[in-house]
């Protein structure tokens, strides 16, 4: 008798999971997970906060992503906590494989993003958020070898996003612009700062068209600094995101990351999965 009760409670809890999970936003509007852990596109942080929490809900999300380019592989896994669609906390672990050095570089990123104004769908002006990403390398020996000044650093960014309903021949059109202060070299995987300490205020942007409620195609652009004189170049990608429901999103992209640590033409593929609860 006790067992029946026990199992019926377990079954009830499992069945009620979708009801407990936050679902207060419209499908696909939170975006996907960015490689530095927060909500965004793949390489650009967006103004949206991760997950489907509206102003009286919270949400927890987890993701893993892989970028596989000519000479390198980056694996990222992370999680986000969204409180009342006002504050987003994120954490991500990046593992960067450098076969040439027979080395692996690991970096941890803690992030906080605050929504300052608006809603990407409903407000007259774009949704505006500000964020901080604190990054630190587990082992900074490669960063020091290539001339970085520090093995940890902090990025600050301001992002504006807007979804225009039916704007382009009836398709929903999304855009995002981000400006970031950063001293990072290749996301920080090659440390922070360097002998030439070039541009520190960088611009990034994304735009996408929703071909249906579940499917978006878009492009991203991310300006990069060249602190190490290694010819670091701006990043670009073309992506497809599939958001079949409010529990999962899957993103695939073609990346053009230019020159990384002396190796030219780093192009390749990106895959990412986010689960929302």
């Amino acid at each position: 008798m006790y067992h029946i009760k026990y199992w019926s409670v377990v079954a009830f809890c499992l069945m009620s999971l979708p009801c407990v999970a936050s679902s207060g936003k419209l499908l696909a509007t939170p975006g996907v997970s960015q490689i530095e852990g927060n909500a965004g596109g793949g390489i650009v942080p967006w103004a949206q906060l991760a997950g489907y929490a509206s102003d009286d809900e919270f949400s927890i999300n987890g993701f893993c992503s892989r970028a596989d380019v000519t000479d390198y592989t980056l694996d990222v896994c992370g999680a986000q906590l969204n409180l009342f669609n006002r504050v987003e906390f994120s954490y991500a672990i990046q593992q960067f494989d450098v076969p040439a050095f027979n080395a692996q570089i690991e970096q941890n990123i803690s992030g906080v993003k605050v929504r300052l104004y608006g809603d990407i769908v409903y407000s007259e002006w774009p949704q505006l958020s500000a964020g901080i990403l604190h990054k630190s390398l587990d082992d900074g020996s490669i960063a020091q070898l290539v001339g970085a000044k520090s093995t940890s650093g902090t990025d600050f960014y301001l992002a504006a996003s807007k979804l225009h309903l039916g704007a382009i021949a009836g398709y929903n059109w999304f855009w995002n612009l981000t400006t970031r202060y950063s001293e990072a070299n290749e996301l920080g995987l090659l440390g922070y700062g360097g002998e030439s300490d070039s541009t520190r205020v960088l611009f990034e942007g994304s735009t996408a068209l929703f071909l249906s409620r579940e499917l978006a195609v878009g492009v991203e652009y991310r300006q990069k600094a060249n602190n190490l004189n290694l010819g670091e170049q701006d990043w670009k990608d073309v992506f497809v995101a599939w958001i079949p429901n409010k529990y999962v999103s899957i993103t695939a992209a073609y990346l053009d990351l230019g020159r990384i640590a002396g190796a030219n033409d780093q192009t390749g593929w990106y895959f990412s999965v986010t689960g929302y609860w």
């Binding site: 936050s22 419209l26 509206s54 704007a167 382009i168 021949a169 300006q223």
Partner: protein, 139 residues
Amino acid sequence: MQNIALFLLCAGLLVGCANKPALSLYQQLDGKAGIAKLVDSFIYQIGNDEQVFHYFEHANITHFRDGFISHMCMLFEGPCEYRGDSMIAIHTGMNISEKDFNHVVDLLVNAMNEQNISYNVQNKILSKMAPLRGGIIKI
């Protein structure tokens, strides 16, 4: 940066082209008859929904149906004038949350799917209705 500017420019040009529809939204929906079918599907969706049905429990369905049809007809540039109460007057005291509002949007999307309204027309309908939100939620 050049690329971003180019994307925005192209997108802007596309928006420009899309701004000359031959038919009004009212006409694309098959006029008042089409709107009535959509509103009937929407009422059916709400009637079967546990999350938001309580907001409508004491509503007069005929009154709601007539009001919604003439309101949509006017919003979609049809030959109608909505003479009902303002959105603020209707929703004051209901204290509708952001979450429940978006859930009703989901139900409207279900109703539009049920009526085989194309994705592009659905988005135009949503863009006409989205500005009403300020007079509906949290009051």
